[in-house]
């Protein structure tokens, strides 16, 4: 969203009339946000119960896209709003937006946490200030051993419980050496734990960035899966602060969204937030 975009407060409205964002050019380029949403969508399965937290623009688009294509029985728990199966009309930047209440049900937020921590979800979307080779994510703070905090993040929020929420899909909107580090300064979300390796807990299944798609090997090391169009292996390695494992053969190019997927993503997103977000 551009900085000179000036929304006004929304007037009182009935539940089926929502805040309108200014329209964007739906004939424009395929953006990184579109590619990331489509990749995440493909990782979702029919019947999955998918939960997301704050700042979940791309995951929300991905989950709704999956619902409208290959996963009609997927359930979306739209973060702070408590909305269940929001129609995502339109895609809104804040997880607690009223737009997410064009939905089938609205849970109290403690109930969302309960379902997540109680193991009633299949997929959890997560991010972090730092992500390391083992898939650990840090949303608390960075700092050195003497206790000096160099960057105070928001806090660990719901990340500690990702392993109870099924497959974690980790995503970031910037791929740099500051984000992808050898070892996080603080573990908010445990990555490749022993329990994950044994298959008894969930854990990071996929990592999606503006440059590429990664996963974890069985040994719990982050590995390149595919490069987004126009991105080279060098781009990724230069911007990754640890030795990234590589696939046995040359990494393929991440598939673009199909024309139908792109049409749906643009329809859900009249303000082209997916273009602006990355």
């Amino acid at each position: 969203m551009s900085d000179d975009y000036k929304p006004v407060l929304r007037a009182g409205s009935d539940p089926l009339v929502f805040f309108k964002y200014p329209g964007a050019d739906s004939e424009g380029e395929v953006a990184r946000g579109h590619i990331m949403a489509a990749v995440m969508s493909h990782a979702l399965r029919d019947g999955d119960v998918v939960v997301m937290g704050a700042n979940s623009l791309i995951p929300l688009a991905a989950a709704r896209l999956a619902q409208l294509t290959h996963a009609p029985n997927l359930t979306i728990l739209a973060g702070a709003s408590g909305g269940v199966n929001t129609l995502v009309e339109p895609l809104a930047p804040s997880s607690g937006d009223y737009a997410n209440l064009i939905a089938e049900a609205v849970l109290d937020f403690p109930e969302v946490l309960m379902l997540q921590m109680g193991g009633r979800t299949d997929v959890f979307f997560a991010g972090g200030l730092q992500i390391d080779k083992q898939g650990n994510c840090n949303l608390a703070f960075t700092g050195n051993v003497s206790g000096q905090v160099t960057l105070r993040g928001p806090g660990s929020a719901g990340l500690p419980w990702a392993m109870r929420s099924g497959r974690a899909i980790v995503y970031v909107t910037s791929h740099t050496r500051k984000t992808f580090v050898e070892a996080v300064d603080f573990v908010s979300l445990p990555g490749a734990t022993a329990e994950w390796e044994q298959g008894s807990w969930g854990g990071p299944e996929m990592v999606v960035t503006p440059l590429c798609v990664m996963d974890l090997t069985k040994q719990g090391e982050m590995r390149l899966v595919s490069l987004h169009p126009g991105v080279t292996l060098e781009d990724v390695l230069e911007n990754t602060g640890f030795d990234l494992a590589l696939p046995e053969e040359a990494a393929p190019i991440t598939a673009l969204p199909s024309p139908e997927e792109l049409r749906i993503l643009r329809e859900l997103d009249p303000d082209a937030l997916l273009v602006a977000v990355v």
């Binding site: 407060l9 403690p110 109680g118 928001p154 719901g158």
Partner: protein, 301 residues
């Protein structure tokens, strides 16, 4: 109801001056991110210089926590999340954590804090956590918050957190009657739960409705009246955060805050202009110049 029933409707200044001790043991503010945060009550607390020994920041605190911390009114914050979602990190909280050590921070998580609040509400002395937390840095970082017991059913070590009963909760409902029966017109976030759990609840609303309307639609009452110590009617009281069905959040103003508060001086002048100087909510609204308030005062069904 009998005609001699006592109203709980108070003006905001009276509510805060009479119901919030000058030094309050602990505070939990309702809403999440840029939604449903009772900002008018928070600004009034700051204006009156109320101090809070402990602030619980979960599930997702934002402007309220950042202003209170920046204004130096919080001694200790138990942090699950303080931030501004897609708009960025919390500038005053950052400064407090990165530059000075004036505030004590207990590193926690939103799930454990909500379970602690739930334990408090039920009168349980502590809450047992699901397995997994031991794999995070939290248990090492906050050993007095996360403690251990032995599971008497199978001998496993379990982490637990002590029950939390906030002394004061500030909550926003879209509507309420004068007896404190609050109605959420959109998401309830963790606010119904918080309102049932806290020792004292002050409720801020957009509009007062008749008790007869509450009696006609009791299933829509989000918080029963006896839990509210006072009901305070304020126009646009959540601004710059949203009030579902009434108005969206004001991201222009939130960005203005984030930009200003990036420096200590900027924070001080924001605090002065929008919190300390305004004599009331109307004055505050006049100072917010990017909104056409008149266009959105329509009644909500």
């Amino acid at each position: 109801m009998a005609e001699n029933r006592t109203t709980k409707a108070l003006d905001i200044e009276t509510a805060v001056s009479t119901l919030v001790p000058d030094v309050t043991e602990s505070l939990w503010v309702g809403g999440m991110h840029m939604h449903n945060v009772p900002m008018a009550l928070v600004r009034e607390c700051i204006r009156q210089g109320k101090r809070f020994k402990t602030l619980y920041a979960a599930p997702s605190a934002s402007l309220a926590a950042d202003l209170l911390i920046g204004a130096g009114l919080v001694d200790h914050v138990v942090c699950g999340y303080i931030g501004f979602e897609h708009l960025g990190l919390a500038p005053a909280f950052r400064r407090a954590a990165e530059e000075d050590a004036s505030i004590q921070i207990t590193e926690a998580d939103s799930g454990s804090l909500v379970l602690a609040l739930q334990a408090g509400a039920w009168g349980q002395p502590f809450a047992v956590l699901p397995p997994g937390i031991e794999q995070t840095s939290l248990v090492k970082q906050s050993p007095s918050f996360y403690r251990q017991v032995e599971d008497p059913f199978n001998g496993t070590a379990r982490f637990v957190v002590e029950a939390v009963r906030p002394t004061l909760a500030l909550i926003h409902c879209q509507q309420a009657d004068q007896f404190g029966n609050g109605i959420f017109k959109g998401s309830r976030f963790a606010d119904r739960f918080l309102g049932l759990a806290a020792d004292r609840v002050i409720m801020q609303v957009e509009g007062l409705v008749d008790n007869g309307q509450v009696l006609k639609y009791p299933l829509q009452t989000g918080l029963p009246g006896f839990r509210a110590a006072a009901v305070v009617q304020v126009n646009f009281g959540c601004h710059p955060t949203s009030s579902h069905r009434y108005y969206n959040y004001d991201d222009v103003h939130l960005r203005l805050y984030l930009q200003a508060a990036a420096t200590e001086e900027g924070f001080r002048s924001y605090l002065d202009e929008y919190v300390l100087q305004p004599v009331d909510q109307e004055d505050y609204m006049r100072r917010v110049q990017n909104q056409d308030w008149g266009a959105i005062t329509g009644e909500v069904p």
